[in-house]
């Protein structure tokens, strides 16, 4: 991979940020989703509405939260609601445009596992679990998934289905009664994949600059479909990079300061 003036994680975050249209309502998780959502808010989408599952609605944090409920989120929110209200009236109520999820494992239909590696009863690795993800995946109008791409993560078969993507493809979601459209993109440190219109199988649609098709293939645990219109993701613009880096620096300073 040629040397770049940005990292693969930066490319991933910025590619994810670009997916968020201005004025949309986004249900944001911690980590990369939070960074991407706030980069979007500070660049092309000033009116994006950020909601964190802990209760803050319309929050505008100046530093990234470490937890899903840092004080900064509550202080800069339009209001803060209770957890039962958040999940019932705001998420289940169908008010979320974009749900933003990470994953430990993902399959070709963008189903995800955040529960266990190995057997549920005798796990090899016990992961944190579901959190809000199954209902974010079900009820958001569209779902974005971000994770680093490698064969341990991109697997032919999940050890556990925590949250449904497109199940076994086609109209499976609709048949099972999930209200939202499901995953519309998977953004990794290597590329962007989107579900095929009919089969819903993930299809490689954009390679990040400098990433080869071979690299993506050898990082994916199944023979990945490739779009006939394969694009190259535009490089991070200066403004995107500087906003992201400023945000990360402010965040690092803020979190270290309390030690």
């Amino acid at each position: 991979m040629p040397e770049t003036h940005y990292t693969a994680d930066e490319m991933m975050t910025i590619a994810a940020a670009r997916m968020l249209r201005n004025g949309t309502v986004c249900f944001v998780g911690i980590g990369l989703p939070s960074a991407a959502a706030n980069v979007a808010r500070l660049t092309h989408a000033p009116d994006v509405v950020l909601i964190y599952e802990s209760g803050p609605i319309g929050t505008k944090p100046s530093v990234l939260p470490l937890s899903i409920g840092d004080g900064e989120l509550a202080e800069t929110a339009e209001t803060v609601v209770s957890i039962p209200e958040m999940f019932a009236y705001w998420l289940q109520g169908g008010r979320i445009d974009f749900g933003f999820l990470g994953a430990a494992q993902i399959d070709r239909f963008a189903n995800i596992n955040t529960t266990v590696i190995g057997d549920y009863r005798g796990p090899k690795t016990r992961l944190p679990g579901a959190g809000g993800a199954p209902e974010i995946a079900a009820s958001s109008k569209e779902v974005l998934i971000t994770l680093r791409q490698n064969k341990r993560a991109f697997v032919p078969k999940l050890d556990f289905v925590t949250s449904g993507g497109h199940f076994d493809g086609g109209d499976a979601r609709q048949r099972m009664g999930l209200p939202g459209k499901g995953p519309v993109a998977v953004i990794t440190d290597l590329c962007i994949m989107t579900p095929d219109h009919a089969t819903k199988e993930l299809t490689l649609t954009s390679l990040h600059p400098g990433v080869t098709l071979e690299k993506v293939m050898e990082s994916t645990g199944w023979p990945l479909k490739v779009s006939t219109h394969l694009a190259v993701t535009p490089e991070p613009a200066e403004v995107e990079l500087s906003v992201l880096r400023d945000l990360n620096e402010r965040t690092a300073r803020a979190h270290a300061g309390q030690a």
Binding site: P65, P84, G129, G132, E135, A138, G164, A256
Partner: protein, 286 residues
């Protein structure tokens, strides 16, 4: 007839209300986590507890790692933004220090189950767990049919702890409790329980609550305990910020059994109360 909350020391409150074998919920979603109460339970060496909490966090890591817990009902068991809860993992993966039965949900299901507990309903209902494997492993997740549309909806038994413990910003002298900011599921957890214990940053003459503030009247609370800083390393809005550095440092402390036990011996078993704990932690950092 309801009785008013009694102002007790935390030690007395745990002695009186938290018994071996009890079902407990210590709630607080990132904010206002009742750490001081968790430490007191650890110090009093309660055993065979069923503990319920949406986000187990470091405090359940400590309770599990010191052997207080035989069963955990939860929906997300990690160190937020950092990684694993190593003591929780060690219990699930290796049964150390004792086997841990888990009853696993998603947040939406736990929230509905707490709300059902507060509302005196036998179960909570949600459009949830659709296509998830969780119902295969958790018999608490069943499905019902809407009598009007035929839609299939998830049903979860109401959560009804013997004791719920929460931390709040203020109580007044009569034991009325006020909290604000990220209020999570605490009101529901307190109302769902047989007994609610509330630790607070301060006891004041008058709450000065805003018109629709989250207030628990004294007569739904069994005990109020003043414990300044009692949510550390979590936070109390208007009092102190989340100590994110401590959360990060916990990863190394809890990763190995030895380092964990050393830390617990020094900072929890080795101190009299939470005030001493915080002083010891401050001193170690200085």
């Amino acid at each position: 007839m309801e009785s008013l909350a009694t102002l007790l020391s935390l030690k007395e409150a745990i002695q009186e209300y938290v018994h071996d074998g009890a079902t407990l919920a210590l709630e607080g979603f990132t904010h206002l986590i009742p750490y001081a109460a968790g430490h007191e339970i650890v110090r009093q060496k309660r055993r065979d507890l069923t503990v319920i909490r949406m986000t187990p966090d470091l405090i359940y890591d400590q309770m599990i790692g010191t052997g207080c817990v035989s069963r955990l009902q939860f929906s997300w068991g990690g160190n937020p933004g950092v990684g694993s809860l190593h003591r929780l993992r060690d219990a699930v993966e290796n049964s150390w220090p004792r086997p841990l039965e888990i009853v696993e949900h998603a947040h939406a299901g736990m929230a509905a189950a707490y709300a059902a507990g507060a509302a005196g309903l036998p179960f909570g209902m949600l459009r949830g767990y659709l296509g998830s494997d969780l119902p295969k492993y958790n018999p608490q997740i069943k499905f019902i049919e809407c009598p009007f549309t035929g839609e299939r909806l998830a049903a979860i038994p109401a959560i009804r702890p013997d004791v719920t413990i929460i931390h709040a910003q203020k109580a007044d002298h009569r034991g009325n409790v006020l909290m604000w900011g990220v209020v999570g599921v605490q009101k529901e957890a307190a109302l769902a329980a047989k007994h609610a214990i509330v630790t607070v940053e301060e006891i004041v003459h008058k709450l000065d609550a805003s018109p629709n503030a989250v207030v628990l009247p004294s007569w739904v609370v069994s005990a109020v305990c003043e414990v300044k800083g009692g949510a550390f390393p979590s936070y109390a809005q208007g009092y102190y910020a989340r100590n994110n550095a401590f959360y990060k440092a916990w990863d190394a402390i809890a990763r190995e059994r030895d380092s964990f036990e050393d830390w617990m011996n020094r900072y929890v078993f080795g101190v009299k109360d939470f005030h001493e704990f915080r002083s010891a932690v401050e001193a170690a950092r200085a």
